[in-house]
Point group: C2
Chain length 549, copies 2
């Protein structure tokens, strides 16, 4: 067996190591265009910021290690230029010498990754304008930062841009993020990004939403980014991160199938349209685990697993890739945002029925010091309660809850299963009723009809004259410090004795701070014969939609 | 509906609140023997230590709050003395006035909890000898500590004792823990407690295993605890925590069924042998979720859920309790120990077949600063790979992995499912191959036969003459700083070129530090025709069994 692997970072390196464990005899050649294999992609912003102090930490493994430990024929600075499927060989260019040569294969794995999209902006090629993809980009950006950068502009408000923003601020750089959409972190639903937007503002990052760069120019004082709004942003450093595109040229040129967004098409054994050629990682189209639809999800974890699975299949094991859930996480200063499964946006776009709930718990028992708040959004099927997706934003413990929900989605669990989950509880770690249980209670109550709820957007979308009677059941103090326009305040503890003040001839929408007192109020009013719903997630959820209200 | 609830802490308070949400009309009376309802049981050691500064933080709710918000008839300092099942009434004593009266019921919930076992030791009733169960105990212990305690003795090495040990040390008290078993934290397997034992030693706690108190005496200089070993431990404070026993007197006197260890018997709707009487919380016998056997698991999370479920059933919903997994966690200084499902001990005792693996990953990517080590043990069925139990000990991230595995056990997942889990990865939070994935790879490889393994205890239990050739595939530096007796060192990177040094006529047991290089060595040797196994979990697992080797 002679196996060639094109690309030596996450998926390619995993495939190579797995292949060797399965076969000591196979001839395994790993081609990598760059000088490094298997570097710590996700650590690059933190090396620029200084959090990761040593560059060598970013080298997860080295060509030498792969050679000695896994007996791999590692060829860095080697660009695979073409595939001849009929002759089963590739043409390789040694980038150092310029020499070209051919290499035959029995099986070929494409792990070519994805390349940053380069927007067609005049000035994008100026010195001082970068993308951040590999160690060489990192070195150049860090060198600039180490010299002297007062102002930086980040084009794009995705995961890496926000990680860079944090690290730039830590290096004392005045940082502006420009995002052409009206939200950052577009895989998330927009309201869930509100706490991150606030965190950026608190930490001094300027965020310009709904704007984009039209040109970048070099002036005597440095670069200037000209926005479509007319605003001019002077900068000594510009980094754009506006998405990636599968590196599919090799596949396309060889006539392999690719999807509409460019991802190399593979079956669930990760075989391309040519049975001797497999593809893995950011370069491929995958099946969305929740919807079953084809999609592209450039993430390191799935790339690693795909590498393993491709090798398994090549060496005679029949292993299937179950699809990608899109579990993702980003830290932005002291906030963490994480998600798994489908977003509300995606479900709406697919016209797929869903219900949702929001809860606003603390990561651990409130009586133990240091509890940090989070908001957790759950999306689920209206009929069965099957989990479709989850998003959480907050402080400590966000990663844990999204991991738990990622497993629940993998296992096909429902919101009713969340009620019963038995999770770690001691006051430093969780609560006797964990945020996961709380979300399960709220969602299950909704589906059982115990707990009729309305989304705050639905309330606000109703014209004022038709709108339900908005009943704020919080304390007068809470009400005074901010409430939904038009609401009337009757604290839940007084509700039973002040029922006469609640109109019988109108629908009632009750709300509190997070939904819990609103739930009790809803139960009281339901049993008193009212037509009542609880505003899901309460005033805190309203504030996600209307942060400056 | 007139519902009486006996006991107002976790299960009782949850049942009462749930009952009110289900019925505004029901008459609900909550009897609590003590002065407080629903206090933060699990926070008591941290209030003594000063971590929780304000006593009022421990009052999760108050009788007044339950009255105003939930319209509950809360009667504190009220002891329910007897149940007359025929007449459906209870006899209550008001502990303040001494007055006795009767109260009828339609349905009754027993949430009487569990009482600390009082060992029959002379001197157990001396002033200065305590248990820690409620706020009154806490106040007395804290008062002593605030005055001046130089030395404290904790009898029992369970969860609460170790939490107290930490808090005593933080208050400057010289602390000794005496445990009659040969391990602390008995729900865990013994080798998994090694890192906690080391942490106690590092933090200056004296731990005496396999010893017990025979008498406690009052001397002119304070208390002295006399151990069976003859050792005398002077102390100004003694706290015993040697387990709890269900508070079942009310149930037993009323002729309700109880299990062999005293837990009140309930069906899966939490009904006792009298269909009008339900029981929840630490007082009951529950079904072990993994084995299906009856057991007793005094934990706050399950108690809360049971309270909810009992109320649901009483108000006409048919809800079943699925059993208790025994997910538990304890923090001991900078170490966290957590578990879920069955332990190896329990599986052995039940003669249930199982396999196990150990992994020693870091909580997040090693290239990002602050990664903390953990050991994770997985127990699973040898045929199907179904997860049976998990234990982890280490620093940050232990709680997350056990929560993930708790959900996996709830969902009936297998070790193969762990391979595929898509968990949060950014370098501050996890790894592209999360500890959970790693454990899945190792366990699945074992079951698939790719990765034959042997438990380190099995190696050591073999007489030296019959023992496999022990092959240490770590670096010479690692080997020199400690290795399994009799091992021969050939680093994995040299193994292919030094095969001649590996005897053909013997079985080979390869090992490295954590199992990963040992796995590669095993693959190399297997394919070279050797009879070889990898020592599961490597030298680090050996050190769990032989910490001072």
């Amino acid at each position: 067996m002679k196996l060639l692997i094109v690309g030596g970072v996450a998926g390619g390196a995993s495939a190579a190591a797995r292949a060797r464990r399965l076969s000591e005899d196979a001839e395994i050649v790993l081609f990598e265009r760059g000088p490094d294999v298997s570097f710590a992609n996700c650590g690059l912003p933190y090396y620029i910021g200084g959090e990761i102090a040593e560059r060598k930490k970013l080298l997860v493994t080295t060509p030498e290690m792969l050679r000695s430990r896994f007996k791999l024929d590692v060829r860095t600075q080697s660009s695979v230029e073409a595939i001849d499927r009929t002759a089963k060989k590739v043409r390789v260019r040694d980038l150092a010498s310029g020499r070209e040569y051919e290499e035959t294969y029995d099986k070929l794995i494409l792990a070519t990754g994805a390349a940053p999209i380069r927007p067609a902006i005049p000035g994008i090629d100026l010195s001082g304008v970068f993308t951040l993809r590999n160690l060489q980009d990192t070195d150049q950006i860090k060198e600039r930062v180490d010299q002297s950068v007062k102002q930086a502009v980040l084009l794009g408000g995705g995961f890496i841009s926000l990680e860079l923003a944090e690290n730039f601020v830590k290096r004392g750089i005045s940082t502006t993020v420009v995002e052409k959409n009206h939200q950052i972190l577009t895989p998330f639903d927009p309201e869930m990004t509100t706490p991150v937007v606030q965190e950026l503002a608190n930490k001094g990052v300027t965020l310009l939403l709904g704007q984009s760069a039209e040109t970048i120019e070099q002036t005597s004082e440095g670069l200037v980014v000209n926005l479509n709004s007319g605003q001019r942003l002077p900068a000594q450093l510009v980094v754009f991160g506006v998405g990636v595109r599968p590196e599919n040229k090799l596949a396309v040129d060889a006539g392999l199938g690719v999807g509409p967004r460019g991802g190399i098409r593979v079956n669930d054994q990760l075989q391309t349209s040519d049975p001797d050629i497999y593809a893995v990682g950011d370069a491929i189209e995958v099946k969305d685990f929740v919807s079953g639809d084809p999609t592209q999800v450039p993430l390191a974890g799935p790339a690693n697993r795909q590498g393993r699975i491709a090798a398994d299949n090549i060496f005679g094991r029949s292993v299937r890739y179950r699809g990608t859930q899109g579990t993702a996480i980003v830290g932005v200063f002291d906030r963490t945002a994480a998600m798994t499964g489908a977003s509300e946006k995606v479900l709406r776009r697919a016209n797929r029925p869903f219900r949702k709930v929001y809860v606003h718990p603390a990561n651990h028992a409130g009586y133990y010091p240091g509890a940090e708040a989070m908001v957790l959004k759950l999306l689920f099927a209206p009929d069965t309660g099957k989990l479709l997706g989850a998003q959480a934003v907050g402080g400590a413990g966000v990663d844990k809850r999204i991991d738990v929900l990622a497993v629940a989605i993998q296992a096909g669990l429902t919101v009713y299963d969340l009620e019963e989950m038995e999770l770690c509880y001691a006051p430093q770690y969780g609560s006797a009723k964990d945020p996961i249980n709380m979300a399960g209670f709220v969602a299950s109550g909704l589906l059982r009809g115990d707990h009729p709820q309305i989304d705050v957007e639905a309330v606000l979308a109703t014209p004022a004259v038709e709108r339900s009677f908005m009943l704020d059941v919080r304390t007068p103090q809470e009400f005074t410090s901010g409430h939904i326009p038009g609401a009337v305040n009757i604290p839940v503890d007084d509700l039973r004795s002040r029922l006469a003040e609640v109109p019988r001839n109108r629908k009632i929408a009750a709300y509190c701070q997070v939904g819990q007192r609103g739930y009790l109020a809803t139960r009281i009013l339901l049993q008193a014969g009212y037509s009542v719903v609880n505003v899901g997630g309460g005033y805190k959820t309203y504030k996600l939609w209307h942060p400056s209200a």
